[in-house]
């Protein structure tokens, strides 16, 4: 198992965000219904990730990071709940959730000192996943805060870097006793 990447600082993540973990029926147009609702009601989305949620492809889980400043969270949840294909909504406050996100970045070798780049990759717990004669692609999965930090370092050093992030996925944080029972 890969070592846990460093957690980094979290100031770069928007403070007013909330995570909604939305279980939906996996039917045509469901993503469009959810996205359309957000734009129609003036709710802002920071990020959105979708993946199948069960073995039979009957349900998908959409993880939405919402701007809780743009509308009261109860309104966002209430309106989402009215979509017929929305089965269940879990509202995760950031402190109650474990969040992870994936970042890919391609660095041009001409801009990079090899040793420095390798050190940066090692420090962040990132890995090199592809390379060519003129570029290197690195990957980091971790908390959004860790990714923010890594992104800051990379963009500072490499002006023509290309960065792609997935948006976060999240599950409820387990309470201590559960964790303890798992490790015992």
């Amino acid at each position: 198992m890969a070592p846990e990447p460093f957690l980094g600082r979290t100031e770069y993540t928007p403070v007013r965000h909330h995570i909604l973990s939305v279980l939906v029926e996996n039917k045509a147009g469901v993503l469009s219904r959810v996205a359309g609702l957000f734009s129609r009601r003036g709710f802002n989305i920071y990020s959105l990730a979708v993946a199948p949620a069960d073995d039979h492809e009957r349900f998908s889980r959409i993880t939405i990071v919402v701007d809780a400043e743009s509308a009261p969270l109860s309104q966002v949840v209430g309106q989402l709940n009215k979509l017929i294909n929305v089965v269940e909504i879990r509202d995760l406050a950031p402190e109650e959730a474990v969040e992870r996100e994936l970042l890919l970045a391609t660095v041009h070798r001409a801009e990079a000192d090899r040793e420095v780049l390798l050190a940066q990759i090692a420090d962040a717990g990132a890995s090199m996943i592809d390379f060519s004669s003129d570029s290197v692609t690195v990957s980091l999965s971790g908390t959004p805060g860790a990714l923010d930090e890594f992104e800051r370092i990379l963009t500072e050093h490499y002006p023509s870097i290309e960065i792609q992030r997935t948006g976060r996925v999240a599950l409820p944080r387990l309470n201590f006793s559960t964790e303890a029972s798992l490790s015992s």
């Binding site: 939906v24 029926e25 009261p72 709940n81 009215k82 294909n85």
Partner: protein, 572 residues
């Protein structure tokens, strides 16, 4: 039994109790029009798809059953978008069936193709694109269930041509409990603790107001409402969507609140210490400037849609549930409380009523016709259970203010969306669903010109509605705003006093046309119209263009700044 998708669609509609479809055929829906010939369902052939939608809305609002409309793909479908949006705003149960190009052609910009499920996503409760004929009975059952339960609303089912042409093995549309809708569970009963809290707040209140919205009519809760109101002695205001939900002649009825509501209804809400909102949604036309709305009132908010609770104003007690069920639960809970007769509150209310009744100045000898007089005479000379349908604008407000509504489901209009042209087709739908009733459309000349062609439908289908055009040759409400707020700079509001000739137009559509210019002609015209039952009647009432709707709360102002009729203002 193998049948075609088209046959399955009609058979499903029959099985779910459809008695009338308002529709218009075309290429993609063609296969479905064949089995209609052999069906028990009546088909009303409209003259424009918008008419089909509004007819279905009128039918639904008058009968409580879902309205069904059927149109073809592309422009047929886009023409019915306005009624769908209107039904969404007013929570009217509507099932709209649209034809679609064949599944293999979807996405190729085929002839008369449009993405109608995409277009209507934001204005339907839900919509479906059927991909296989075997889905038809199930989807139609889901569509009816979703449209009619919870907070009612429009739904749309898009049926590609190859789906309606292909064969399927028939099965009966599943009963609601057998439907697979894991994300749809409307909450019907109220939370017991919240009901008790609400009853206790109601017993403590000194200046309560029952704020009644369209949800009370949707829930068929009028009788329960009267019981609750009498048990707690509170005054009742009925919003534009709820006129008739509580009898106007009941001593506790204050009438309509809102931008053009009467002084006492508006001010009672404003000064209230407890608003008991039943099936209403704190619309901006009710609250005026929201920050200044009913500043001292605690709020009990009952709505079938949990998202309405706190959307505009945070409730002290928010109860999601069906209005009839919750009102009945409240009545039970109130039996454990004692209620005062609210004497000082009623003294205040009666004083306002005496000082600021809804008022207008009747025309003097030789003066022009006043629209309010016409409405009062129409009401006095038509059967008690007459259903009134209106368009949108000054005539709508006058009708709501000056007709006395004593029965539920006798007032039908376009509230939330404010769709001009609603009255004529909606009245036709009402009359199709309630043929034994007298149906009067009270319309403006601007509205009438938008959808009048449906009177051809009315005549040819034998649906004898009556239309009173309050004709001031202006887009009157816009004119009123330009007069009051734009220094009388009238911009693009004058229609014409001689174009069209409404009598000739009505006659050409097979209706009786009558023109009324003077006060003496009003009663004979109404009596003549009410005596004609074999064809539609249109009366062109020529009214005073300078007449305005009062009271009025200027847009964006606090309800405290209500403007009453000039003759009631201080100094007069």
């Amino acid at each position: 039994m193998k049948i075609t998708g088209a046959q399955a669609l009609i058979k499903s509609l029959e099985a779910l109790g459809t008695e009338v479809i308002f529709g218009y055929p075309g290429g993609a829906i063609l296969p479905v029009y064949d089995p209609i010939i052999d069906s028990t369902i009546r088909h009303v052939l409209v003259r424009h798809e918008q008419g089909a939608g509004h007819m279905a809305e009128g039918y639904a609002q008058a009968t409580g059953r879902p309205g069904v409309a059927m149109v073809t793909s592309g422009p047929g479908a886009t023409n019915i978008v306005t009624p769908i949006a209107n039904a969404y705003m007013d929570s009217t149960p509507l099932v709209v069936i649209t034809g679609q190009v064949a599944t293999g052609s979807i996405g190729t910009d085929a002839f008369q193709e449009c993405d109608i499920t995409g277009i209507t996503m934001g204005i339907t409760k839900h919509n479906w694109l059927i991909k296989d004929a075997s889905e038809i009975p199930r989807v139609i059952a889901e569509a009816f269930h979703v449209a009619t339960t919870g907070r009612p609303g429009p739904v749309l089912v898009d049926v590609p041509k190859d789906v309606s042409q292909s064969e399927m093995e028939w099965y009966d549309p599943p009963m609601p409990e057998a439907l697979d809708l894991p994300g749809y569970h409307p909450q019907v009963t109220g939370n017991r603790d919240l009901i008790a809290q609400a009853a206790s707040l109601m017993a403590q209140a000194e200046q309560p107001v029952l704020y009644v919205g369209g949800g009370v009519l949707k829930a068929r809760a009028s009788e329960a409402l009267v019981q609750l109101a009498e048990a707690i002695h509170a005054p009742v205001v009925t919003t534009l969507m709820a006129r008739g939900a509580f009898p106007d002649t009941h001593p506790q009825c204050l009438g309509m609140p809102g931008m053009h509501g009467n002084y006492t209804a508006v001010t009672a809400m404003q000064k209230s210490d407890l608003l008991i909102s039943l099936g209403a949604r704190f619309d901006d036309r009710i609250t005026g400037k929201i920050d200044a709305f009913a500043p001292n009132a605690k709020i009990i908010h009952v709505d079938i849609d949990p998202a309405e609770l706190g959307k505009v104003r945070r409730p002290d007690v928010g109860i999601s549930g069906d209005c009839r069920v919750v009102i009945e639960e409240l009545i039970m809970a109130c039996q454990k409380e004692t209620f005062s007769t609210l004497e000082s509150w009623w003294t205040q209310l009666n004083e306002w009523q005496a000082r600021f009744p809804v008022h207008y100045e009747e025309s003097q000898d030789g003066g022009m016709l006043k629209p309010q007089t016409i409405i009062e005479m129409l009401a006095a000379n038509s059967p008690d259970d007459t259903i009134v349908v209106s368009g949108v604008g000054q005539h709508q407000m006058w009708a709501s203010l000056h007709w006395t509504f004593d029965y539920p489901y006798t007032w039908i209009n376009s509230g939330g969306a404010g769709t001009m042209g609603f009255a004529v087709p909606a009245a036709i739908g009402v009359k199709a669903g309630r043929p034994e009733r007298t149906v009067w459309a009270i319309d403006g000349d601007g509205c009438f010109q938008m959808t009048a062609q449906e009177l051809v439908t009315a005549r040819s289908e034998g649906i004898p509605v009556k239309v009173a055009i309050l004709n001031n040759s202006y887009l009157g409400m816009v004119r009123q705003w330009q007069e009051m707020f734009y220094e009388e700079r009238y911009s693009e509001v004058y229609l014409s006093s001689d174009l069209p000739n409404y009598v000739m137009w009505a006659e050409s559509m097979g209706c009786v046309g009558i023109r009324v210019d003077t006060p003496e002609e009003v009663l004979p015209a109404i009596e003549k119209a009410n005596s004609i039952n074999d064809r539609p009647v249109v009366i062109d009432f020529r009214i005073d263009a300078s007449e305005k709707v009062f009271p009025m709360v200027p847009s964006g102002s606090s309800n405290d700044e209500i403007v009453v009729h000039p003759s009631q203002q201080e100094g007069n």
